[in-house]
Symmetry: C2
Subunit: 323 residues, 2 copies
Amino acid sequence: MVNVSSCSTEKQGCVRDAQNFVARYLHHTPLWHSSTLSTLVGRPVFLKMELFQKTGSYKPRGMLWAIQNLSAISRRAGVVTFSAGNAGQGLAWAGMHLDTRTLVIMPSVANQLKIDATRGYGAEVLQHGTPMEAAARCAAIVREQGMTFISSYDDMDVMTGHASLGMEIIADMPDTTDIFLGIGGGGMAGGLVKALDETGSKARLFGVEPEGAAAMSASLIGGAAVQLEAVKTIADGLAAPGAGNSCFELVSRRFEAVLTVPDDAILEAMRLLMTRCKVMAEPAGAAAVAGLLQHARKRKLGDAVICIISGGNVDPSMLRQWL
Amino acid sequence: MVNVSSCSTEKQGCVRDAQNFVARYLHHTPLWHSSTLSTLVGRPVFLKMELFQKTGSYKPRGMLWAIQNLSAISRRAGVVTFSAGNAGQGLAWAGMHLDTRTLVIMPSVANQLKIDATRGYGAEVLQHGTPMEAAARCAAIVREQGMTFISSYDDMDVMTGHASLGMEIIADMPDTTDIFLGIGGGGMAGGLVKALDETGSKARLFGVEPEGAAAMSASLIGGAAVQLEAVKTIADGLAAPGAGNSCFELVSRRFEAVLTVPDDAILEAMRLLMTRCKVMAEPAGAAAVAGLLQHARKRKLGDAVICIISGGNVDPSMLRQWL
């Protein structure tokens, strides 16, 4: 489970190397002003439309950089991850473009759209149990088959690749004051910390977790990354089995707060994004907006508030139940 | 029902005057390449994302220009239109920005989201009967109350304003070969003809109508604009009570074809836009894609095919029934 990186994560310029590399494959996603949200919270609010990224989420950013940093031998043996589906698609898409065999272990109840898309990008998909059981099965496969495990969050190379998301935000809006983002295991969060460190940005970071999958909040209370016994939320894209150790280190050092929101607030944010912004965010993609709307009044926000919207992989049959 | 225009529709430069005027208020909406659609039809396909326009559809383009061209006396007396909701929002939004009182007559079954948004932009909304009955009520109000009627389609100033949509397409992609667009009464269609005339573009135009509201197809067969006895389609945004006379003249002169699609094909196109492009188009906004998918094989298309996606005003409770 060890990655060989061509670029130490402490080394100057590594985040920029990753950014340049992923820019060869991925979109620099747009940053939109939202009149509706700005009116609702009384500050200028912008949306980083990462659901328009390849595969519908930010995940291929880190996966591309992590695979790129593997040895040729490891790449020939293939890579594996566990995922509710977005990281799986990210791994599969990156593997397809970097000629690397990919295997994705998904929970048995995974969203069919994500399963089909992951297979469509060339990965083998194995469905198994709960998110925790899928993670355990993934670990067993790594031991037995000699494939390389790439965590979609608790991996320094993955987070360095994910940092490209933050680099785009700061490039487009250098005076960003506040960034709201969903937290699952903490991979995007860690990437954002790396980007702000790299650029010297003073933006405040606010993580948003579903109440039923609040591993990072629990970790901050306990002072160490915790694994959850169960997760229960409609936001499958944020239902990681626990917080990553290295993610926790970065989040606890740099985040202003990690907030929790109930699933109802996430659904309300999805409806708002759909009816007002005309975009189809999945629950994980709407969580940042839910957190902003629920907590904006209690926080002193600045003049350039950003919500990261990732992803957009909604199964129509699930959406029908949510509307 | 007569508009006083400051700029004759035959006059050189009028389309560009309108374009410059609406650009002060509205977005130049993006043109996106769609990998999914390009693969499906075997040609490069681009989407003109007009559902991101103010009010969620192209309608304020023409409404702004039409109101701007009214006399001060007419503007003080107020303007009225009949609409399933998108033209109503467009009129209301334009009136709000040009200090003009607006009244919108909508069918009794109109989408609640559109009613609320129209009122939100400051219009008075009156609901009445079928689309045909709403149109008749609108005509009665004009006679009785002295308000100025602005047809959302059969009006040269409105179409000149709508032409700005086509001007943006040609500016962004001068070598556009084929444009697919939904047709209701024919206002967008007429605007596109004006834009292609103005720019000298040789792009082919393909109109797409729901089978249950195919007024323009019937008009082309009969050789004159027809009114329908009834309309029945999920695409309320294309369910005009008939084809406009001046729209018909422009369409019959310049369009390659007007195609019809069943509601099922429109729903399939909505799902594709939602799951692959992450955007929430209403049925009227998905019709162009439905037409492209259904008819692409029978047509010899070029290397820059465009589908116009307008609008994006979906009522979540209706969406639930459609999924």
